[in-house]
Symmetry: C2
Subunit: 318 residues, 2 copies
Amino acid sequence: MSATQRVIIGLSAVVVAASGKGPEVLLSGAPGAIGLPFGSFDPIGHRTFELAVRDFVTSQTGFALGYVEQLYTFGDKGREAPLADMGQSSDADRVVSVGYIALAGSIDEGQRRAGVWADWYRFFPWEDRRSEAGIRALELLLPDLKAWATTTERQSRVAMAFGLHSQSWQESQVLDRFELLYEAGLVHEAQRDRAKGQVLAAPPAERTYVGEPLVSDHRRILATAMGRLRAKIRYRPIVFDLAPARFTLSELQDLVEALCGVKLHKQNFRRTLERSGLVESTGAMHAETGGRPAMLFTRSAVSRQAGATGLSLPLAKR
Amino acid sequence: MSATQRVIIGLSAVVVAASGKGPEVLLSGAPGAIGLPFGSFDPIGHRTFELAVRDFVTSQTGFALGYVEQLYTFGDKGREAPLADMGQSSDADRVVSVGYIALAGSIDEGQRRAGVWADWYRFFPWEDRRSEAGIRALELLLPDLKAWATTTERQSRVAMAFGLHSQSWQESQVLDRFELLYEAGLVHEAQRDRAKGQVLAAPPAERTYVGEPLVSDHRRILATAMGRLRAKIRYRPIVFDLAPARFTLSELQDLVEALCGVKLHKQNFRRTLERSGLVESTGAMHAETGGRPAMLFTRSAVSRQAGATGLSLPLAKR
DNA sequence: ATCACTAATACTCAATCTGAGCATTAGTGT
DNA sequence: ACACTAATGCTCAGATTGAGTATTAGTGAT
C-alpha cells in the first residue's frame, strides 16, 4: 500500500429546504471552513450510496431526507481539498466525492435552528436575478470576465452562459457560470487551487470576491445541485417536495421564483398551473396578506405519479 | 488492509456511433461474457475521470472519442459482478463504477470492423417502437409484468413506465423500464443477482428472456446511457455528434428515429428543423434514393454554440 | 358606511406553435 | 410519355403563450 494511493469515496449532500424566504442549504463545519455535510463511504457497512447518504445526514443533523438523487461524481485531482476532519484519510489518498441532492421539504423555525442553514445565494449572489443585489453582483463580475475572454472561444462561452447578446439567461446553467468564474480566477477557490498547480487565471488586482467560498469543491457541487434542481422543476413536479402541504398559488410562485432566481408572470403562472392538474384547491382560504384572501391548494394525486410533468415558467418582462 | 475492503473505481464507457442503420455501441469481452469497455481508474496516473476514459477507450479500441459525458456512478452491492479479467481486484474488493457515455460520431465500414459493435436494441428489443419485432417483444413481456404488479404502487409504476393507460410512451424512460423488468425477474441479470442475495422476483416458469444480457451491471449502464441520450436530443443539438458531416433531412430523421425508437411525422420534422436554424443547406444534392433528389444539409454555426437547443420530436400517429 | 389600498382572480387578444393531412415536384426506370 | 418514389410545399384548425386590462374580496382608516 505504499506505491498505490488508496481511493476514498466521500459522499456530499446538498440538502435543500424551503423556509419562508427561499431555498436554504444545510451546512456543516467550523467558521472559516464551512462546507456541505460530508461523510465517507464505508464499503463494508453500506449496501448502496443512497442508503449511506440518508444515514449520515440523519445521524449528523437529525433530518430524515425525502427525495434523494445522485448528482455527479467529482474526481479531479487538485480541486478537492484534503478534509482534515475526516481522520481516516491521509494526504496520500485520492478522494473522489459522489454528490447528492436531497430535498428536506418545508421546514419550520424549530428545525431551522436545529441545523446550520444558509440562503444559497450567499454563495452565488449573481444567480439571483430578482433582486437588485443580484443584478449588481453580476455587473461587478462582467468587466473582469470580459477581460479574461481573450479568445473567441472564451467570449462565446461567456456570452452563452451569462445570456449576453440575443441569448437569454438560462437559469439552470449555474455550473457553467461558476466554472467560467473559476477559470477566470474570479472566485476564491481558484486561488486556493492555483497554489496546488491548477492552471487558472490570476485574480485581477485588488479583487474583492463576490460570493462566499466553501471548503474543497463543495461550491461546485452546490452549483451542480442548483442547476439540476432548476432544470428539473420544468419536467418533474419536485417543487412540491419543497413546498408546504398547503399553499396559495402566490406562495408557490414565490418559491419557484426563489429557486430559479427569476420573476414570473403571475396570471400566466396561475393559468398553466391550474390547467396542469398538478394542484387542487382545498376549500380553505388564506387571508393574512392584506389583499383579497387566496385559495389554499394542495398537490394533486396526479402530481405524485411517476412521469408527471413539471411546471412551465412564464417569464415576466424585466 | 484485512479488516477494511478496498474500493476500486471502475470506469465503463457506453460508446455510441451511428452506422447506416442505427445506433451501435462498442462492446468488449469474450463470447458469453460480453460487456462494455471497462477500465480501472488509476488514482496516481489519472488526473480526471474523463481523461482516464478517453485514454483507455482509445488504447483498447483505437477510437478517439468526441463528446464525453458522465452518466452515473453505480455502487450497489450485489449488482456488480467481480470482473475476472481485471486481474488487480480480488473478490473482497468493492467495485464502484462510474459510467460514461461517449459519442464516436458516424463511422464507416472500416472502423466498424475494427471494433465489436452491436445494435443497441439487441439488449433492449422492447425499446424499439418502430419495428414489429419491438412491439411484439413488449407484448411478450407485458403479461408477466402485470402478473408481478400485485400492489397498486407496482401497477402505477408499470403503467407510467410503459405508457399503458392514457399516459404515453416516454422514449427516455429506458432505465425505469429496465429496472421494473429486473425487479420482476424478467431479465437475465435478475437471476444472477438473486443468487447473490438480492430480493427479486423469481422468473415465471419456462421463461425465455427477451433481450441479451451483459456482464455485471452493464446493461443497466447502457439503459442509463440510452435514456440520457434520448432525453438530451430534445434540448441539446447532440444528434450532430452522431450524424455524418453532410446529410439529407430524411437521413437525419432516420437517425433520430433510430435513437429514440419511434416514428416521426416527416413534414413536421422538416418544418421545425428548418426553423430551428440548426442546419443549413449546402448547395449539393443527393440522389441515390429513387425518388426526388434531396438537399444535403450540414449543422450550422448556431448548432455549435453552447446553449443551443435540441430537436423537437413531432410524433407520427402510430 | 364609505373610501383607499392590496392582493387574488378573471377575462381577452394576438402571435406562435403543433398535429395532421393533401398537393406538387424532380428525379429514376420502362 | 408514363408510372413510381421520395422530397418538398402548403393549409388549416386547435392548443399554447406572452402580455395586458378588468374585477373582486378582503383590510384598516376616515
